[in-house]
Subunit: 248 residues, 2 copies
């Protein structure tokens, strides 16, 4: 059984801790207060007390990864970070890797890790295999993903998660103006996602922009009062129209 030291005490650290607990021998964080929720295991706030382990998982903000990795230069274990956008080379130790769970984590909300893609990367084959082994024990979707691919995935994740969620927010605001409960849109939102289990998003597309229904688009634009919503409606409608024009 491999030993892991977890560095960090935020959202991702908590979620990884929940599934990697059997391996974890210690959690390190700068702030003692934040370590209280890791009471099942040894914790430390002292750099010089960081234990020896096979793997060090740095689960901290992107900007702090490099600095935290400098605490581990004397260690012989593999050091990985969990970021979707930071290069593997941000880690300053000689054995380095990435262990990136591609998911949005909500504090206190348990997720089934088996269905969370784990994007792993390492410079040495034996390090890659070690991460594959640990990853495979918690997820069915372990993938070898390069830094460039991971950064691309991270942008794509912004489109499907951050931007979609923002569209849900805008829709909620639009509904609120006419005293309509946002809940009425939830079955549609769920079906939007259910649909792409069987169909590609390209084939699943419907709506006025797809069918070039200028009359409906014009009326929708008149209905939208906020300038920001009009702009978004226009840009995304044009993008949909282009998608289907180009391929004629």
């Amino acid at each position: 059984m491999h030993s892991i030291v977890l560095l960090g005490s935020g959202n991702v650290a908590h979620h990884l801790f929940a599934v990697l607990q059997p391996y974890i021998i210690q959690v390190y964080a700068r702030n003692a207060e934040n370590l209280k929720s890791f009471s099942q295991v040894k914790t430390t706030t002292k750099k010089n007390e960081i234990a020896d382990a096979d793997v060090y998982i740095i689960a901290v903000n992107d900007d702090a990864i490099e600095e935290v990795s400098t605490l581990l230069t004397s260690k012989s274990g593999l050091v990985v970070h969990t970021s979707g956008s930071v290069s593997i080379n941000a880690i300053v130790t000689s054995r380095k890797g990435v262990f990136y769970p591609l998911q949005t984590f909500t504090k206190g909300k348990k997720l089934d890790f088996k269905n969370i893609p784990l994007c792993i990367e390492a410079q040495r084959i034996e390090d890659y295999e070690l991460l594959e082994k640990i990853g495979g024990s918690i997820s069915n979707l372990v993938r070898k993903i390069s830094t460039k691919q991971r950064q691309t995935l991270h942008v794509a994740a912004v489109f499907v998660n951050n931007f979609s969620n923002h569209l849900f927010y805008l829709a909620e605001e639009i509904c609120a103006q006419d005293a309509i409960e946002f809940n009425l849109l939830k079955p549609l939102i769920e079906e939007t996602v259910a649909k792409i289990q069987d169909l590609s998003p390209k084939k699943a597309q419907t709506g006025p922009a797809k069918r070039n229904d200028e009359k409906t688009m014009h009326r929708h634009l008149q209905q939208l009062t906020a300038e920001n919503n009009k702009k978004i409606y226009q840009l995304l409608s044009q993008s949909i129209q282009k998608t289907y024009e180009e391929k004629l």
Copy 2:
């Protein structure tokens, strides 16, 4: 038991037929070929053969609703359409209403109607009650929604369905450039939607725009090669930033 004549043979007509079949005494459409799939019930292509019924449901393209309603001027039953965006007044008969299922229908894909919001509208109380009764027999989410509210819902539906689905498509294209399987994003997409069951979209928002992480946004923009994707990234990021600035 109320009798229904269904007018139309498209996607919505088929889905309504599947759940309203016990009430349906006849299906009318112009094209005999399209009526073949309604073999369980009487069908006609002849205007003067349209049966007498309590309710006529016009499930045709928005542009054809008015014309189809003219076929029913001699009938005493209630005439409704199923459109999200057409006014109740497009119907020329004296008893008129709307019976709008707020969902995206895929040909051949069965849906649980119980969870589909039915937005109903009528001018007379007894007509409203009739629609409420029929609606309540197939859905748990029957709501009184005015034409104005329905048109607002329709725009909001474009945001959550058409636009989100298009973002999924763009993400798939972005992934394809680096030979990444789009499937890796599906658990994230599912969780994006699962999250708003418990949290409002406003509270569920995460990402570089939300936290004003200019460095990451700048790098994402550099990674995006298509001008169209850059524009969408910028506009939606700005919109997210505005959302959280304004409320400070």
